[in-house]
Subunit: 359 residues, 2 copies
């Protein structure tokens, strides 16, 4: 079992809401983490249940645009961004209705980007199920992403927390420009570390940052405290993505819900590949051939094996885990300016659980 | 020459900004309209020049997402939505920097929807040039639309006019649900009048409505006056679309920048077809065959000729012009509660010029 198990979509009890917190790989010397995850559930379980119940109230007009959006939302997900909002709020005055609006909003923005990403990447599966675009078409997915983005912004307006809407608009812009960097590198292998961090910080970490900042702001924290939370979000987001990168190679498809080597096949540069390429440039032709292959065709297994071998022999996995570990430590260090509290301790738990997750 | 000629994209003088106002078909007994268009230029020419100059300041990061967005914006356009903002503002206290932000925003929202529409409709030409998606790909167009939407919302935030941001979010939602209705009818012929007005009011008129309301609000008008302006925008938007529908059949592709019968080929229900279908249901098989044809193939000319003949014989063009005329009259009537002013007179001119436009 893993700390980031996916949530049920219509939870009826608090226990169902955070299976992310419900169990931990016992054999992995994580027994202290396991106890702290129970504490995290105690603290944030009801916030997450409220968020989930609120997400379920999103209206369901009978058209394929809304159906596409609900298809994705109903698949559930780790809801780690709403959890960030909730814990950041609990560092301050608590999880108010405004914080709940922000928690719903951050998940809707995330879902909106997934809907557009699946169209752009010609993605066929998401969370182990067919993507919305394969069921309802690309057109419906494009408009569904537009719709969820607008719904998210309406929620942020309802929250009426000063400063967070403008910050979200800037964050979404950052996400779009990160997509542009990724597009530039599509079908070729290039960019290296600079582009990698541009994409990871823009596509993943920016929204984690916002979730932390917005949660803190909703709960009356001072700007300096919100910025400390934001810094936590930045590093946590990079660590989260580095683990995602690892899971593309080492994850069990039944657990991750993604086809093995999906990122590699889509020509997405992940950190293990960057290391392998830096240390063994001879794999470039194999990578180029994999990246240039049509999206719906599996690349020759021999090529994939060649790349995986190079990652192993160059220590690509270890370096990626080191990146995740280093960023987790930076995330935790960023919390230092905040007074000790159950919520701050819970954020440390989230960061450590990010390292241990298997999906 | 026509009242709605497209604007130069980087105007250096006021005269270049509103060629929309610069000339009128002399042979069409519109000489009084011609004089009033000169008056409109006198009134709003500098507002439009400022809007155009401001649009040109939108930053240009060197990536294909931004290039896609600028490709569309640089093609120019009629800029009729910003003109609505400017004139509505001039009904009140005038065209302030806040109004200019709103004028830029409404054009950016419009451009964002065009970028997504071209992906969804597999559109190859727009404003007489290749669409952004044919030059930079569907992926870049999707993100370019996302980007312009966010830029638009940032502008509305900058304008800081109470009430207009929330209204814009609702309007964009309406636009998306109208897209959903259009998607539902894709590849088949159905829906009739109800769906037609749902789509036209959602896709076109909603944004005209917002432009008028927002302009009035930025200029300190009372809510009742803003609602009168909004009502003008609604009817003007429907009239504008009805003329667009006509131009799909009767327009000169060199003038409209669209391939002849483009709407018909894309299976979009336009008003002349609705009339023809109501009065001569026997054309349904021909329409169905045209709508079912792949987007990149021209339907058999004999089928198109059959439909065009039916529209002529059933009076489809006349009914469509009648719709546009009726709505123009309603738009003008909606202005009655407003005190007489040069700006109110200019709005009447815009409504009448909408009827006379040839592109």
């Amino acid at each position: 079992m893993t700390p980031f198990a996916k949530v049920a979509t219509t939870p009826s009890t608090r226990e169902e809401v955070l299976p992310v917190l419900s169990a931990i790989a016992d054999g992995q010397a994580l027994s202290s983490l396991s106890a702290r995850l129970a504490e995290l559930r105690e603290l944030a379980g009801s916030d997450m249940a409220e968020t989930e119940a609120d997400l379920a109230t999103l209206h369901r007009p009978a058209n394929i645009v809304a159906q596409s959006a609900h298809h994705l939302l109903d698949l559930g997900g780790k809801r780690v961004r709403p959890l960030c909002v909730a814990l950041a709020a609990r560092v301050g005055a608590g999880f108010s209705p405004a914080a709940r609006h922000l928690a719903v909003a951050v998940e809707l923005v995330h879902a909106a980007t997934l809907l557009h990403d699946d169209v752009v990447d010609v993605g066929d599966t998401r969370r182990g199920k067919p993507t919305a675009r394969t069921l309802y078409g690309n057109a419906a997915s494009v408009f569904a992403g537009d719709w969820l983005l607008i719904e998210a912004l309406k929620r942020v307006r309802q929250a009426a927390v000063p400063g967070v809407l403008d910050k979200l608009l800037f964050v979404i812009e950052e996400m779009i420009h990160a997509e542009a960097v990724q597009l530039k590198n599509r079908g070729r292998v290039g960019g290296g570390r600079t582009d990698y961090f541009h994409v990871v910080e823009g596509k993943t970490a920016a929204l984690f940052r916002w979730a932390m900042y917005a949660g803190g702001r909703s709960a009356g924290l001072a700007e300096s405290e919100c910025l400390a939370l934001e810094s936590f979000g930045l590093h946590l987001g990079v660590a989260f993505q580095a683990i995602d990168d690892l899971l593309d190679f080492t994850g069990d498809p039944a657990t991750t819900g993604k086809a093995s080597l999906a990122d590699l096949r889509e020509g997405k540069l992940t950190y293990p590949i960057i290391i392998a390429l830096e240390r063994e440039p001879g794999i470039l032709p194999a990578l180029t051939e994999i990246a240039a292959a049509p999206g719906d065709e599996a690349p020759p297994p021999a090529l994939c094996a060649r790349v995986v071998e190079a990652i192993q022999s160059t220590g690509g996995y270890e370096e990626c885990r080191k990146l995740a570990k280093g960023r987790t430590a930076q995330a935790i260090a960023a919390l230092a300016p905040l007074p000790a509290s159950r919520a701050r301790a819970a954020l440390v738990t989230v960061a450590e659980a990010t390292l241990a997750r298997e999906q």
